[in-house]
């Protein structure tokens, strides 16, 4: 059907335009700073096609995807959980501590760690939800404030308190610093054994994180809950028109708290790939995934599939820009610029496409009706009499 094709093309056009625009602008930036953009992009793409790099990209995309879903759950009902950053780091340090204290059989141990992380993330985000429904405090403000309190206060304090000895040694390595190591039973094994029969040996000590499967499961669950369940319907309805949703029996307050808690629970998982790789929470723990998640959620239009695309693009840029340092074709910081521009260009492009689509839809609807022929102004058996006389 022609219309369907149009719709698909329209949906796809925005991110594609955004990508092209970002490439164009960053090319100008590269040219202005005396680098050859084609060489730089060439290096990045070539590098990205290597098996080892692909594994790195997937490892990077996994937490970005989780972070994106966390942000998207809120966005779907116009709630801005800006606090994913603080939530996942707080969840990670607490679950690292708890995980290190336990001795449990494998599956159970892992499950406890993940559940603790989800609980901590959900509870932290839930605070913002409760503040919103009880005191009307905007969640943007409260999550920003809670973020700052967690990162520069609570996490700093906890890392000091739970530090398991060791310090930065003479060589500058801080490998010994951090919480107690989590026993082997608490760590999700890597997926190398699963994919190497197909891809061949990855080598160079690279491992595909086991959290990859968890991220896939989260994505599928997100899709089903959002699009197929009554709860998902209520969530989307609240996002489109909270007043109509309320009149339709959706309890706005309950939805706000639930959505924040769910968002925080997924946020709690964001730090897990890093925790599973490091085996402990330490100063090298990955940061800034929270804001990256917001970006990929926006890029992916808050759709489970779209966020896959968004997180892969961002992960590709993050990982394969590393080659620029080595090849010397450009400064690797160009990737930050590209990411920022993609994000902005995408939201602008979505908005433009949305407006265009609205106009088109109205026009098509009017045309369709005009073709079907307009009927007399009223066709019922109303008793004609003069009003107002």
């Amino acid at each position: 059907m022609n219309n369907l094709l149009r719709r698909v093309l329209l949906s796809a056009s925005a991110p594609v335009i955004a990508l092209l625009f970002a490439v164009l602008v960053s090319s100008v930036v590269l040219l202005a700073s005396g680098s050859n953009p084609i060489a730089a992009y060439g290096d990045m793409v070539t590098h990205a096609l290597k098996l080892g790099t692909i594994v790195d990209i997937l490892n990077r995309a996994t937490p970005l995807y989780l972070s994106g879903v966390a942000a998207a759950i809120g966005f779907r009902m116009n709630l801005f959980n800006i606090g994913v950053e603080g939530q996942y780091r707080f969840a990670a340090i607490v679950s690292a501590y708890v995980g290190a204290q336990l001795a449990l059989p494998g599956v159970l141990h892992v499950a406890v760690i993940l559940l603790v992380a989800m609980f901590v993330g959900g509870a932290t985000a839930g605070v913002a939800g409760v503040l919103k429904v009880t005191r009307g405090i905007n969640e943007v403000i409260s999550t920003i404030m809670i973020n700052a309190i967690l990162i520069s206060g609570v996490i700093a304090a906890l890392s000091k308190r739970w530090q398991a000895g060791g310090s930065v040694d003479a060589t500058g390595s801080n490998a010994g610093v951090g919480t107690d190591p989590i026993p082997e039973s608490g760590l999700i094994p890597n997926l190398n054994g699963l994919i190497e029969p197909i891809t061949g040996e990855i080598g160079r000590g690279k491992e595909l994180t086991g959290m990859f499967l968890v991220a896939v499961a989260v994505g599928v669950a997100y899709h089903i809950i959002l699009n197929r369940t009554r709860f998902g319907y209520d969530l989307r309805a609240s996002g489109v028109n909270p007043f109509a949703a309320t009149a339709g029996g959706v309890s706005a307050n309950r939805m706000i708290v639930t959505a924040m808690v769910l968002s925080g629970m997924v946020a709690g998982l964001v730090g897990m790939p890093s925790l599973m790789a490091l085996g402990r929470f330490n100063p090298n723990f990955v940061s800034l995934l929270g804001f990256g998640g917001i970006a990929v959620a926006l890029l992916g239009r808050n759709n489970p599939g779209g966020i896959v695309f968004g997180s892969l693009i961002f992960a590709f840029l993050d990982v394969s820009s590393g080659i620029l340092q080595i090849s010397g074709s450009a400064s690797r910081e160009i990737k930050d610029i590209i990411q920022g521009i993609i994000l902005l260009a995408a939201v602008v492009a979505y908005e433009v496409v949305r407006r265009y689509r609205e106009r088109e839809e109205a026009r098509l609807a009017a045309e369709a009706l005009a073709e079907s022929g307009s009927s007399p102004p009223f066709e019922s058996g109303s008793t004609p009499s003069v009003a107002g006389a």
């Binding site: 699009n227 197929r228 369940t229 009554r230 709860f231 998902g232 319907y233 209520d234 989307r236 309805a237 489109v240 028109n241 007043f243 109509a244 949703a245 309320t246 009149a247 339709g248 029996g249 959706v250 309890s251 609205e358 106009r359 088109e360 839809e361 109205a362 026009r363 098509l364 609807a365 009017a366 045309e367 369709a368 009706l369 079907s372 009927s375 007399p376 102004p377 009223f378 066709e379 019922s380 058996g381 109303s382 008793t383 004609p384 009499s385 003069v386 009003a387 107002g388 006389a389």
Partner: protein, 531 residues
Amino acid sequence: MTQGNDSPADGSPTINQPAIELSGITKTFPGVVANDDVSMTVAQGEIHAICGENGAGKSTLMKILYGMQSADEGTMRVFGDRVDFKSPTDAIDLGIGMVHQHFMLADQLTVLENVVLGAEPTKSGGRIDFEAAKAHLQEVSESYGLDVDPDDLVETLGVGERQRVEIIKVLYRGAKILILDEPTAVLVPQEVEELFRNMRELKADGATILFIDHKLEEVLEIADSITVLRHGKTVATLPNEGVTASDLAELMVGSELPSPEITESTVTDTVTLEVRNLTVGGGGDRPAVDDVSLKVHAGEIVGIAGVEGNGQSELVNAIVGTVSPSEGSVFLSGEDITRRNVRTRRESGIAYVPEDRHHEGLLLSAPLWENAALGHQTKPPYARGFFIDRAGAREHTETIRAGFDVRTPNIDVSAQTLSGGNQQKLILGRELTSNPKLLVAAHPTRGIDIGAQAAVWDEMRQARKDGLATLLISADLDELIGLSDTIVVMFRGGVVATLDPSDVTPRTLGAYMTGAAIESDDRTDDLKGTP
């Protein structure tokens, strides 16, 4: 120049030129022709009414005249000079002022700030000369008896005062042509009289007034000449001599207006809704709903009359469950539902047509079938257990589309593409097909075209016949009198009268609504179950 004594230096109106001359004005929006070759002439110093039903293109025309939108085709002349407005500033410069239907006032600013905005007298350095501004404002307000305090915050003002501020705002800039967009819609009859007195004073001072209204008696009372619009076209411009309301009505809709009317009584003895001593709000302030009791029987339509803001919305919200009452209780088929939330109330059989369909009734950017499910998403055919039944929901939406004549290319378009009338038919369809016991319909025909209006009335009559209890809230007194079995009048949150529609006229109803008839009537607060 509002005094009309000394002639202004430039742009001086030449006596013989018409104030406004429009010819061939055409304006299209995606899918809609709002104005189609509109031509009209407004003489200087007259009060010129523009009539037409909802969607006839009145508001668009006024926006074009005021520079808020630009016409695709056609020419405009103001005092004989051809004009082409890019923004309201251009219109204001030529002495055109507009009082909008929805007041254009900023609540958090003072009256003075609101009035001077855009025409601020300044001293050096861009500093506003508030003294000079206040003096000018007081001069304007005194010369037309428009009484306001310049230092009040607008948020503290009532409706009548706000309208006075609006008119002062326009006069402050020395407007010679005033556009009033449905100014009486928000006023009680006494305020309307005051407004008309002000309008006559302005006219005596030489102002030209364009006045949009669809209350035909008002038009006949105040206007010198009348232009009728229909489907975006000018149908006629006539002097107000020997014209009757029915002539105008016929011009407006191309045939005579349909009227709501019910035939034989279908009222049963079964009480479906009972509201007992319900009070909403209070605690220091005057309660929005004050000790209201009423009953609605199966097969009965109970109409609630009242000037807007007298507690009707709050009563509806308390019945539907979006606000909780401070006192009293609500019973549905004998069950106390006072403590239940919206969802369980709707599940137990309350259907609801909200007063503002865009605000509370629809998910505008969502497809029709998702809109059809709203409010009923927990039950078949929309849901199966914890999951949404997409196929069932779509199928049922098709049923509504066919049964309620919702005109749409398909059920996947978003709700915002439908016309107001079709949106309303969709809402009514989803509510009436949900197998309800009670329908709460707030202003069900507000702002929709006549065809849809008649269809809505038909459906409500049919549902009544089938035994549905209906609580109808409307500002359209003809609708209330025509459809209701019983009319309850609310004033300041309380019930002041329960009337039999067969022996009331809009005029007597109006007297109750403004509280004027309370002293002379001893039926106050006396409730009759059935007429």
